[in-house]
């Protein structure tokens, strides 16, 4: 099953390869990975999506925790979480389809970030499901290029007072 793992780590050379090595060493694929410095200088947050046997993922999570540069590891698959991904999509926009592209963009609250006579570049943020839906609608019109940030996620705060 798919697991979303969030890792807080010290941003030092080689840290990323220590993390990914635990996956590649077991023949596990990383489906998406996003990492950037947050809050404190020198501390990065990494969000990683992988799929595999639950027991092995649990083992990897423990191993991640054991890495000297890792501060905190959470498998947020099971917890109630907010997850987002951003994509940039360049879609063909000929005279006949320009309006259609804009309408789809509007429905999904996408923003037009680049305009040319024959294409639009859209910026869309959302869950995996939302992004999949947009892609499916735009595909028949003609997707020319696409980049994604990879998923980032955060657990929801407790609703109790």
């Amino acid at each position: 099953m798919k697991h979303t793992i969030s890792v807080l780590l010290q941003n030092k050379p080689g840290v990323l390869s220590r993390v990914t090595g635990l996956f590649s060493g077991r023949g596990f694929n990383i489906e998406s990975l996003s990492v950037a410095e947050v809050l404190e200088p020198g501390v990065s947050c990494l969000t990683l999506v992988t799929s595999g046997d639950d027991g092995i993922v649990e083992q990897i999570t423990k191993q991640l925790h054991k890495l000297i540069d890792v501060i905190k590891v959470t498998d947020i698959t099971e917890t109630d979480n907010v997850e987002r991904e951003m994509v940039l999509i360049r879609v063909k926009a000929e005279a006949t389809t320009r309006a259609e592209v804009l309408r789809i963009a509007d429905i999904f609250r996408a923003r037009v970030v680049d305009v040319s006579p024959r294409s639009y570049a859209l910026e869309i943020t959302g869950t995996r499901a939302k992004i999949k839906a947009v892609c499916e609608l735009l595909k028949p019109i003609g997707i020319q290029e696409m980049v994604r940030t990879g998923i980032i996620a955060m657990t929801r705060a407790s609703k109790k007072l």
Binding site: L9, Q10, P13, G14, S17, R18, G21, G25, Q59, K62, Q63, H65, K66, I68, D69, V70, I71
Partner: protein
């Protein structure tokens, strides 16, 4: 005080109380060697291959309990060290390996003798570092020693570019190492201790299953006390041998693939299994679902990733083995249970074990005209009163040493358990002898393994070490041959050693003493002569060629499915 990187390096080693380092020079570390030449506080042992430097440092650590240190040059020096590092990693041995590196400006340029050793060793070190700035040198070395020796110990590598070592710094004052992300837990959770003790007292068939963690964590006294308090039988992994006295009546000997019949049976029938500093390795468990199927499993380990890795654990205790056993002893003493009564309740269990012990004791078929390897080990035990430090290579001879030497003390069996590295034993004997100059150190060797690092005879001679080598010479890669005999219809593919050197002459060529025994009657005189000789002696015991190691649990079988002869 202002000094160069190389001088700061020496100062750091002094700070860590390092007395001996094992190494081999080269271009990238020539400045370091120049500094070593100009001081006399730290003794440098010149090995003949970098793998041996790391094995020697590793054995030095295993015997002394201190961090072992090795020094190698960049490129091939560093890659030669990798097998040694992986060996230490798999057995959780605290060492720090320093590798030279090309100057920082050349890193990544495919410069002469450049390899990315930090990248290469990332999966087989506890942690590693590349020092790119002289101001990081001293803090990095301090941190490396701290990481190597604390928590679950392990090897740490520091890569030292040549220009960094030549730069000048003000040596920083010593401050305690503080690491935000690394704080191993030693103290056990009191609730878990209570749960564990109660589960043990509720059991009728308890077994202690102890591993290398007991030795690394210096827990043998506390563990022995605990076993005696309740009269619990103890079985040991290869790495745990010596963690509890092997000649004690509560000892079941080693368990697992080549464990005793009674150890494997006791574990299989136990209702409480107390794993202490052991990791449920596949050589121990056999088929996992048949391993202690009826037992409540208690697992004490300093490394949380070891717990429930291979076998689901009922009561996990993340703690130092020593601290946990100490707390369990205290709990028992403070409890309202009468320990003598509790002990007496285990009577039927001890009777059962006695029955297993009588039915299939550890043994071998004695012969009069050919030397049995087990007999050699028994004689070694007898003539050294069981007080020698035994290092081993890897193969059948290693298992015979484990089965028949009956280790009574921790840190006396020095063997590559996790990685199973042939060629470990001789350099390990050198490291062991450096750590314990007055002790008898014997490398129990196989003819195949010994040839993997035989050049180290020169190192031992240069250091005037009176190491003994007991070669169990079967002219075979015996352990592999045994598998071929049992599971491959005797197709002895690439296991007969058709050309062998005359080992006695090899020893003599290095200026050492070589002795040979070909008949059982010659075994004792040869050992006696070797023990009485204050120099390196190689004893070539020509043994029964196709002797097997038994009992044996075939790989992947339940541990109760043992081949007994």
């Amino acid at each position: 005080m202002k000094m160069t990187g190389t001088q700061a390096f020496m100062q750091c080693l002094e700070e860590e109380n390092v007395q001996t380092i094992f190494g081999f020079p080269g271009g990238a570390v020539i400045d370091l060697y120049d500094t070593i030449f100009q001081q006399d506080k730290i003794h440098h042992v010149l090995v003949r291959h970098e793998q041996a430097a790391v094995h020697a440092a590793d054995a030095y650590a295993r015997v002394s309990g201190q961090v072992g240190v090795a020094l190698v040059t960049s490129g091939p020096g560093a890659t030669n060290a990798v097998t040694g590092i992986a060996t230490a990693y798999l057995d959780s041995i605290p060492i720090v390996v320093f590798s030279g590196q090309v100057p920082t400006a050349l890193i990544g340029n495919d410069a002469f003798q450049e390899v990315d050793i930090v990248g290469i060793t990332r999966p087989c070190t506890k942690h590693n570092y590349l020092v790119k700035d002289i101001k990081d040198l001293v803090p990095t070395i301090r941190e490396a020693f701290h990481v190597a020796r604390t928590g679950r110990p392990g090897p740490v590598l520091i890569d030292l570019p040549k220009d960094v070592m030549a730069a000048i710094i003000d040596f920083p004052a010593k401050t305690p190492v503080k690491m935000r992300t690394y704080r191993p837990t030693y103290a056990p959770h009191p609730g878990q201790i209570e749960k564990a003790c109660k589960a043990i007292l509720a059991g009728k068939r308890p077994v202690l299953y102890i591993g290398g963690g007991v030795i690394l964590g210096n827990a043998h006294e506390q563990l022995t006390e605990f076993a005696y308090k309740l009269g619990i039988p103890v079985t040991m992994t290869l790495m745990g041998l010596g963690g509890f006295p092997g000649t004690d009546s509560l000892s079941l000997g080693m368990l697992g693939m080549h464990g005793t019949y009674f150890a494997n049976m006791a574990v299989a029938k136990s209702d409480v299994l107390i794993a202490v500093g052991a990791r449920f390795d596949d050589r121990v468990t056999g088929r996992v679902d048949a391993f202690a199927p009826d037992a409540t499993i208690i697992h004490i380990d300093i490394d949380p990733t070891s717990i429930s890795k291979n076998v689901e654990v009922d009561i996990p205790i993340v703690a130092g083995c020593k601290e946990a056993m100490e707390q369990m002893n205290k709990w028992l003493d403070a409890s309202s249970f009468d320990l003598e009564t509790e002990k007496a309740k285990l009577g039927p269990w001890h009777d059962q074990i006695k029955e297993w012990k009588t039915k299939y004791p550890l043994g071998y078929v004695e012969e009069t005209d050919v030397i049995k390897p087990q007999f050699v080990i028994q004689k070694l035990h007898e003539l050294t009163q069981g007080e020698a430090i035994i290092t081993t290579e890897v193969g059948q001879h290693q298992m015979w040493a484990a089965q028949f030497y009956h280790f009574n003390h921790p840190r006396t069996l020095i063997t590559s358990g996790g990685l199973g590295t042939m060629g470990y034993g001789l350099p390990a004997a050198i490291g062991a002898q450096m750590a314990a100059p007055g002790r008898t150190v014997i490398d129990v060797a196989g003819d195949g393994s010994l040839q993997m690092n035989i050049q180290e005879l020169a190192t031992a001679m240069q250091e005037r070490l009176p190491v003994k080598i007991a070669l169990l010479n079967n002219n075979y890669l015996g352990m592999v041959r045994q598998w071929q005999e049992l599971f491959y219809d005797k197709r002895y593919s690439a296991t007969p050693m058709e050309i062998q050197p005359d080992f006695v002459k090899v020893a003599e060529a290095y200026g050492a003493v070589g002795l040979r025994a070909t008949k059982p009657s010659e075994v004792e005189p040869v050992i006696k002569e070797a023990l009485a000789t204050n120099t390196l002696v190689l004893m070539d015991f020509v043994i029964s060629r196709e002797e097997g190691v038994f009992p044996m649990v075939p790989a992947g079988k339940a541990t109760t499915d043992m081949l007994l002869v």
